[in-house]
């Protein structure tokens, strides 16, 4: 059913593009010989926008030779020449980010190298949708999809960092919103995007909590395309109906369900930790349930001590869950564990809402969802963004990409395919209808729940802390040593907070 509305949306996009709205600008035939500055003054209201006009026209001329090729800024523009005047917003953004020492940026064409780890399934489709939209606006640019597989960027990060250090980054790459950006030493390697946010008006349509996440050392470094929710409990409706179970609201109910199902020979709770991060993801949601939204947030800012009773309780809960979990979890990634639900052999699973996209791809519809026990009203958020490296070879092309990513059109196209919700909150009811039921309920929750940053997915803590946190949890799975693990978590926090101050 949601596929139909997706088709309608696609049609709308195509129609709008054909109407020329996609081209973000308009044609202009010069009435009398003049200069670029005069044209800019006349059409955009400011002579300083001349370079923007030059760039837009040159780019257009690569696809359509009837447009004038402008060779220099001071060139005389003859009567009858056809120019392309970009939208004012685009011109503003161009002027804010164009480096006058780079005259090559005034000529259009070139490449757009996009780095990411989205290589298959809904993610790749989403990325391709963005590429298609970009291609309509900027047909002169050759898009290079420099994606590298490996869950959560495992391989990608090792490849992008030497490139940043060596001064040869791609034009843009995928980055989680939040403190993950610290790991890229952004003041040195990335371009701040504050002006872009202002010009495009994103500070108005992005939720405040997300904007807080995106802010690091006083600047915005990435443009968010989506929001995922991490604290979701998925369950198999068939099993729940068969045994007359309703989704648990707290941990006592949860364990009661587990006991009941275990006696019946069903795996009560499934997990897959082959990726090394899934167990830590689970633990993060348990922490939220025992510490509450404010307590949890405080753990990552140093306000809440890791010696709190809530942390101990969370570890005890995780330990108890291990009694009910599928024995082969070390061999399975999260989607391998999901197979248990599809086969109706396993009842519950806690995982982010990309699970939703995966269920759809597998044709599994008999599932229900609820917030992780005791986290009702709390939204554990993570967001994928794209950034602009300082030494990007084609910065203006990258700028165009960022604008597409932040646009409503781009976000709808991307998220309907990926299975996440747009970062923007200004969708109309008709636009929201293009998303499936889970995603619609997710958008509602996002608007009213308390938002907390996910740690495993790069929002709440710097990368070294995330690694230490993950390692502590992974060790706990084997040792089940609550006191020792809590100590390790305390030490990790101390090391990280000290590093963050420095």
């Amino acid at each position: 059913m949601w596929r139909k509305s997706y088709l309608v949306g696609l049609l709308a996009v195509v129609l709008l593009s054909w109407l020329g709205w996609g081209q973000a600008g308009h044609e202009y035939v010069v009435p009398a010989t003049t200069t670029l500055k005069a044209i800019a003054q006349e059409t955009l209201g400011d002579a300083a926008y001349a370079p923007a006009v030059m760039r837009a026209t040159n780019a257009k001329s690569l696809a359509d030779p009837t447009y004038l090729k402008i060779r220099t800024l001071d060139m005389e523009i003859p009567e009858g020449a056809k120019l392309w005047i970009p939208e004012r917003v685009w011109a503003e953004a161009f002027m804010a980010f164009w480096d006058p020492n780079r005259p090559e940026d005034l000529f259009g064409g070139g490449k757009l190298v996009v780095g990411s780890w989205w290589t298959a399934g809904g993610e790749a489709e989403g990325l391709n949708a963005l590429f298609e939209i970009y291609d309509e606006y900027y047909p002169d640019v050759q898009i290079v999809n420099a994606t590298i597989a490996g869950g959560a960027g495992f391989v990608f990060r090792a490849v992008i960092k030497p490139r940043l250090i060596a001064g040869d980054p791609p034009d843009t790459f995928q980055l989680h919103a939040g403190l993950e950006v610290e790991g890229y030493s952004p003041e040195t390697y990335l371009t701040p995007l504050d002006e872009l946010f202002e010009i495009m008006g994103w500070t108005e349509v992005l939720p405040k909590d997300l904007l807080d996440l995106l802010l690091y050392k006083g600047h915005f470094w990435g443009v968010p395309v989506n929001i995922h929710r991490a604290n979701v409990l998925w369950y198999d409706k068939a099993i729940f109906d068969k045994y007359g179970i309703t989704p648990p609201e707290n941990w006592d109910e949860f364990f009661a369900i587990c006991e009941k199902l275990k006696a019946e020979g069903v795996v009560p709770f499934v997990m897959g930790n082959a990726g090394g991060w899934e167990a830590a993801h689970l633990f993060e949601t348990i922490l939220i349930s025992t510490m509450g939204a404010e307590g949890y947030k405080g753990l990552w800012t140093g306000e809440t001590p890791w010696t709190s009773a809530g942390v101990t309780e969370a570890l005890e809960i995780l330990k108890k869950i291990l009694d009910y979990v599928n024995p082969d979890y070390a061999a399975l990634s999260w989607d391998g564990a999901g197979e248990y639900l599809i086969a109706h052999k396993g009842a519950m699973m806690i995982m982010g809402d990309w699970t939703n996209g995966w269920f759809m791809a597998k044709g599994y519809e008999d599932y229900g969802w609820a917030p992780v026990p005791d986290t009702g009203g709390i939204f554990d958020a993570l967001s994928d963004t794209f950034c602009l490296p300082k030494r990007a070879p084609n910065p203006i092309n990258a700028l165009g990409w960022l604008m597409v990513c932040g646009s409503k059109e781009g976000q709808i196209a991307f998220n309907t395919r990926k299975g996440s919700i747009p970062a923007r909150t200004d969708l109309t009811a008709a636009e929201k209808a293009q998303f499936n039921p889970y995603l619609r309920s997710c958008m509602d929750d996002f608007a009213r729940d308390a938002i907390v940053p996910s740690v495993i997915h790069g929002a709440a803590a710097i990368e070294s802390w995330v690694t230490d946190f993950k390692d502590a949890v992974n060790l706990f799975l084997a040792t089940k040593d609550v006191a020792g693990t809590q100590r390790a978590l305390v030490e990790a926090a101390e090391a990280a907070l000290a590093a963050m101050k420095g």
Binding site: A120, V144, I148, A149, P162, W358
Partner: protein, 283 residues
């Protein structure tokens, strides 16, 4: 050898053991082949030993040409050849020269030099990724196939030198002396005496180098950034995807990616043996 005293049950046992081991070695290939011949709906972890209901080449096609959201491996195969063949030839050639000099033209410190060269084969490559990238950038070869070729050639020098040096050590000194008396210089001896008998050495070296370069993942993923120039190992890893894995496509891709080196071993395996017999790898 116990000719004439062959006890039948001992012979039978011998064959049983050999066949048993053969089954052990072939077991994974069976899984690879059987899985890649299944369609996506049929692929199932819990029925992995079952033969496919209907043979489907769809996964091979997808692996080669691409599917929704990914491009196929076809051009990556070509890239792998572009990297492996020149790098193999270059490192083999350099190794041959080095091995020759170090075995036949000893000078003071040549043994130390050899030891120092050899040691380079043992370093963990992860640890030099960053300086490697920076150096390649400085000479303008980063992100390109020639850069990858350079890296593989340089890091192949130690092992190729070792193999050739040990191999050339078996060439009698007298032949070299005889050629020198005839007036041959360093290069003369090489072309006249060494090269003609080098074939087994080259075969072993090239098989070894081709295999390790073809199968390399670390350098490939670090140096060859642009998907257009990525070798097949990186592309294969991409086939795995972040979350949604099409196992049959991945297995088909693995099978195809392994094919060149597999064929080399199947058809040239006996030359490899002969090369070993000629003393290439005697410690």
């Amino acid at each position: 050898m116990t000719v004439g005293r062959r006890i039948p049950w001992q012979r039978a046992l011998l064959y049983i053991v050999l066949v048993g081991f053969a089954a052990f070695y072939l077991m994974p290939v069976y899984v690879l082949v059987v899985t890649s011949l299944k369609s996506f709906a049929e692929v199932n972890l819990y029925r992995m030993w079952d033969l496919p209901h209907s043979f489907s080449l769809e996964s091979f096609k997808k692996a080669l040409i691409g599917g929704f959201g990914y491009t196929g491996l076809a051009h990556n195969f070509v890239n792998s050849f572009y990297v492996a063949i020149p790098a193999t030839l270059a490192s083999a050639f350099l190794g041959s020269l080095n091995g020759y000099v170090l075995s036949k033209w000893r000078f003071r410190g040549s043994n130390t030099l050899f030891t120092l060269l050899l040691f380079g084969m043992f370093i963990p490559y992860q640890s030099i990724l960053i300086p490697l990238v920076q150096t390649l950038m400085k000479i303008g070869l980063y992100g390109s196939i020639p850069g990858l070729i350079l890296a593989h050639t340089v890091y192949g020098i130690p092992i190729t030198t070792l193999i050739f040096r040990n191999y050339y050590a078996t060439v009698p000194k007298e032949l070299v002396e005889a050629a020198r008396i005839d007036g041959a210089g360093v290069l003369g001896v090489y072309t006249r005496i060494m090269l003609p008998v080098s074939m087994p050495g080259f075969v072993v070296v090239m098989i070894w180098q081709f295999t390790s370069i073809w199968n390399d993942f670390l350098f490939a993923v670090t140096i060859a950034q642009n998907p257009a120039v990525q070798p097949v190992t990186v592309a294969l890893n991409n086939l795995a995807g972040s979350y949604i894995v099409e196992w049959n496509v991945q297995m088909a891709g693995s099978l195809m990616a392994a094919l060149p080196t597999l064929l080399v071993y199947i058809f040239l395996g006996r030359y490899f043996m002969r090369g070993l017999l000629a003393g290439s790898l005697k410690g």
